[in-house]
């Protein structure tokens, strides 16, 4: 599963894979515990415990004496909201366009799928609305930050 978090240094993309009850990222293995924490196993056999809680859009995480505030960015949400325009979060290629101009969509609908850094990114409607423009088609290369579609909030 792929997620994006805001950080002072810039957006951070994280993709975690699941196998059985555990999740994997690089050499780390995380297993949810009954009390809601995660047990994180390092490849040297040592263990860390993460407390985590989501308040609004922000994941608060405590690991090994450090506390992190990680604001989750909705897939496809742009950092600089330009009036309903949905921009490319990174340079990549359009894989699929799932909507047409004039179509009414509800919040959460996937509008377009990009491929970048060998990962898929879904551009998702942040609100109910009507698609007023589609600027690219499947196979097009896009630069980071360009508007991909426009949506008029209803």
């Amino acid at each position: 599963m792929h997620h994006q978090f805001r950080s002072p240094e810039g957006p951070i993309e994280v993709t975690v894979a699941k196998q059985g009850e555990s999740w994997y990222l690089g050499s780390l293995e995380a297993t949810p515990m009954p009390d809601g924490r995660l047990r994180i196993l390092n490849d040297d056999g040592t263990v860390m415990f993460a407390h985590l809680v989501k308040v609004g859009d922000v994941w608060w995480v405590h690991v090994d004496g450090h506390t992190f505030k990680l604001e989750r960015v909705e897939p496809g949400a742009s950092d600089t909201d330009d009036g309903g325009g949905l921009t490319a979060p990174m340079p990549g290629k359009v894989l699929q366009v799932l909507v047409d101009v004039g179509q009414t969509v509800s919040s959460g609908t996937t509008l377009m799928v990009l491929e970048a850094m060998k990962m898929e990114h879904r551009i998702v409607a942040a609100s109910d609305g009507t698609v007023t423009a589609v600027h690219f088609g499947a196979g097009d290369q896009v630069e980071q930050g360009v508007a991909l579609l426009a949506l008029e909030e209803s």
Partner: protein, 501 residues
Amino acid sequence: MVSKVLVANRGEIACRILRACNEAGLASVAIYAANDADSMFLELADQAVLLEGETIGETYLDQQQILAIAKATGADAIHPGFGFLSERADFARAVGEAGLQWVGPSPEAIEQMGDKMTARITMRAAGVPVIPGEEIEQEEEAEALAAIESASHRVGYPLLLKASSGGGGKGMRAVHSPEDLIESAKGARREAIAAFGDGRVYIERLLTGSKHVEIQVLADRHGRTVHLGERECSVQRRHQKVFEEAPCATMTPDLREAMGQAAVAAAEAVNYEGAGTVEFLLASTGEFFFLEMNTRIQVEHPVTELVTGVDLVREQLRIAAGEPMSCGPLMMRGHAIEVRLYAEDPENNFLPAIGPLAVFRPPEGPGVRLDTGVREGDSVTPNYDPMLAKLIVWAPSRAEALQRMRRALDEFVVLGTTTNIRFLRELCDEPEVVTGQTDTTTIDRLWPDGWHPSVPRSIEDAALMSAAVGESAGLHRTVSVVAGSSSGPVSPFATLHRRFP
């Protein structure tokens, strides 16, 4: 005689006092503003009474309302805690005139120590060393500035300007060279007038590289005034203490005795009663100078309790009841450190933070004490001081106490509100904290451009992974109370019926 104590305070110190009342077998009354209706301290009192009013002035500072509640609930003593009305001589006087016992010194002692100039004069007369400096009695702007200019030549640079009726760093200015003097003096007066309605300042030599060392005293009505050794509170940020310990790492038995005797002399000079603290600057030369006397229990009192074994709040209650204090000869043992946990953002100039305490898990284990007034599920609001808790550790030696503090801070989990926990944790690794060579400029020197955490990349990765797993797996921790609506009509009468077959 004291049998029922009204605690005119809130938060952690109210909890501390209410627990002591309970253990002393005294009934207790809490008072609270409407925005404290769910606060923990209410639960520790036998009775809790709502204060009418919106602002702090209309609630926790409303002397008449508090006295009326004391009357109505039959309280016969008032414990003011610290802050709020604790150093208001007029309130102490009103409490006495209402026939109630004030848990603290006489109004006269509060007055003599509350005005910094009077305090300095009193201390000089009692033979207690004061910092070279002069009182500026002039109230009119131009006259005051002229007097300050003239005094600056005798005091010397660097110097410090302080509001005469000040506290908490307000109206305080450090002046390092003559050309900054007049501008700083105007600023100090402006702040002093705004904060205290009194523009008088005094000017004193700024002793750089000094330690802030304070002596705890106790005095009862049976002629006994004792000191309980020192606390070092040099690690301050803008005159706000952050890291406090006992004993002072560089203290010697002779110096302790000399400072202790000076503190006892200070207390006796104003016929002190109860618990009080005499603050000194301890220069690197070993000379010490009177700063001020705090005529109340202090935030950092637990470190003294842990090294001396004296329960200061119980002794306050005993002394107020007219009993002799119960503690024997001074017996210091081991080392105690306190840090103050604030809801603040150390990466952003320590701006106060607010938010829910979605997770609040204090550390556990031997030698760890937590004084707090909040628990998981509470919210930090902008209404009051952002101090969340005092974390205090004791261990047989200073090195072990620091290690224990590191472990405790690493175990402390607060999520939902930004805190200074990591700042405090890294402070414990700074070489001058490790060696005990701290002075009042330590924090400014260590982080002149602000503080930023050093986070190992591997830990950050684990945190990012945790958030991603949390999002993916839907690990949205919910601590919810399902308050279902009751179905059907509710019976208008309520009964409890035991049936014996």
